[in-house]
């Protein structure tokens, strides 16, 4: 026999009367803090403060302390000269792919003097993975784990529901969004907490296009630190503009927000450390081989002249439509394989700040990394194809728009 909804509740009332006594409940400090962080008047400033803290700790730890203070010195000062010496066959194609493609200065072949420009799998690839991405990912996941275990996420979701509702999502979409800032792969999986197909599709598409992962943010922080704010601003604006449009055109329902807000808890050191470790390990299992392979393939394609060829072919579009110099064509093509290295390459090309912002935003919004791509495929191939369609349109529309804004502002 099964019970009806009403009967079930009547039964529960009976049982609860027999077995549970609710004592006088005393309001604790935790509850007071809990209420303060969801009330808009106090909650929004707190949220801004927390995000700001998150941001500045991220920047100073990953960018300044670890990468500049330690890894750059280690890699440029010791690793690069050593491997340039130790690896046999200087000037050969294998050497170029693995170690250093070098460059020509006044007709003479010279080796690179830093790990950003060498573009070998064992130099740039390793440096980017360990020296730039690892500190970024580590501090990001550590702070994320703390916020998660304390129980702040649902409260942030409540505060952001109002805005996210306008783009067909609801507050809880903040969870996949924030997870994606670490790595898009778990972000895509986390879209399952959204109720309808429409919401999941909008979320996945926005993630893939507008949310840069920890690796990308880490490298931007390293090579274009003073422009990072602008780049992220453009990405966030794009997230909302295209979310709004998608909400209007994608059929389906966008149900209302209905979530449980758990009480605050003291995070357990054990759980936080296990989680951070697990996520970093997961990231590197996927990312490290991929970064190194990406470096090798990009170098190979450069050697074969493939990237220059495609770049020349597409240069008129890049120059005419997006307003970036034609030298960026190469890196922008290479970015299909390695977004993070492409950012590094872009940073050494001479162009105006605005062009650099445009180029980096372009790199971020087009084509998700292969791992994300595979994950989206797992969630449904029809959605994936639709997402790619949207992506193509967005790259052109938004790239053109940024160019237009630049023209209007008189900076492009």
């Amino acid at each position: 026999m099964t019970l009806s909804l009403g009967e079930r509740w009547t039964l529960i009332d009976r049982i609860s009367k027999e077995t549970v006594t609710f004592g006088k409940y005393e309001h604790t400090l935790k509850d007071a803090v809990g209420e303060l962080t969801v009330k808009p008047l106090t909650g929004i400033p707190v949220a801004i403060a927390i995000m700001y803290c998150f941001w500045s700790v991220f920047g100073s730890f990953a960018g300044t302390l670890m990468t500049d203070g330690f890894f750059v010195k280690l890699f440029d000062g010791y690793w690069l000269p050593w491997i340039q010496e130790a690896f046999p066959g200087q000037g050969s194609w294998l050497y170029a792919i693995m170690v250093d493609a070098g460059g020509f200065e006044s007709g003479e072949f010279v080796l690179s003097d830093n790990c950003f420009e060498a573009f070998g799998a064992l130099t740039s690839g390793l440096f980017v993975a360990i020296g730039v991405v690892l500190p970024a990912i580590f501090i990001f996941y550590l702070m994320l784990a703390l916020l998660e275990d304390v129980g702040y996420m649902p409260r942030l979701a409540v505060l952001l529901d109002t805005v996210l509702h306008r783009v067909g999502l609801h507050g809880y979409a903040i969870v996949p969004t924030i997870l994606s800032l670490g790595c898009n792969v778990p972000g895509v999986t986390a879209t399952r907490i959204l109720e309808t197909k429409k919401q999941r599709f909008i979320m996945m598409t926005l993630l893939a296009i507008f949310i840069p992962c920890g690796a990308q943010i880490g490298i931007m922080e390293e090579v274009v630190p003073n422009l990072l704010g602008w780049i992220l601003l453009y990405l966030i604006i794009g997230y909302f503009i295209f979310g709004y449009i998608l909400n209007k055109i994608v059929p389906g329902k966008a149900p209302e927000f209905l979530i449980d807000v758990p009480p605050y808890r003291k995070p357990l050191l054990n759980n936080v450390s296990k989680k951070v470790w697990g996520r970093i390990a997961g990231f590197f299992k996927v990312a490290l081989p991929f970064v190194m392979l990406g470096c090798a393939i990009v170098s190979l394609l450069y050697l074969l002249g493939v990237i220059q060829f495609i770049g020349d072919l597409l240069a008129p579009i890049f120059v005419g439509w997006f307003g970036v110099p034609k030298e960026t064509a190469g890196p922008l093509v290479a970015a299909f394989l390695r977004k993070d290295l492409a950012v590094a390459q872009l940073s050494v090309i001479e162009m105006t700040e605005y062009q650099l912002i445009t180029a980096v935003v372009l790199v971020s919004i087009y084509f998700p990394c292969v791992a994300t791509f595979a994950m989206m495929l797992k969630e449904g191939w029809k959605e994936l194809i639709a997402a790619i369609g949207v992506l193509t349109i967005v790259v052109f529309a938004y790239g053109g728009m940024i160019h237009l804004i630049g023209i209007l502002l008189g900076v492009a």
Binding site: L5, V38, P40, V158, D161, T162, H165, E256, F257, L258
Partner: protein, 67 residues
């Protein structure tokens, strides 16, 4: 219903009854509202010492008699 008021649920609209049942919200249940977000934002209520946040459109379909 306003901030910090308590009341008793008197009616829940149609199919919503089933959806919120799992969250412990049901007819005759007492609840307290803790916040209402501006610009049509969600509403936070406490039922049995558990905090739940509902979208405004959902909340509007639940009738509460304020004490």
């Amino acid at each position: 219903m306003n901030y910090d008021e308590t009341g008793t649920v008197t009616d829940i609209d149609g199919d919503l009854r089933k959806r919120v049942a799992g969250m412990g919200i049901r007819v005759d249940k007492r609840l307290r509202m803790i916040t209402k977000q501006p610009i049509k934002g969600p509403v936070d209520v406490i039922v049995d010492e558990a905090e739940t946040s509902l979208g405004l459109e959902l909340a509007e379909r639940i009738t509460v008699e304020v004490d």
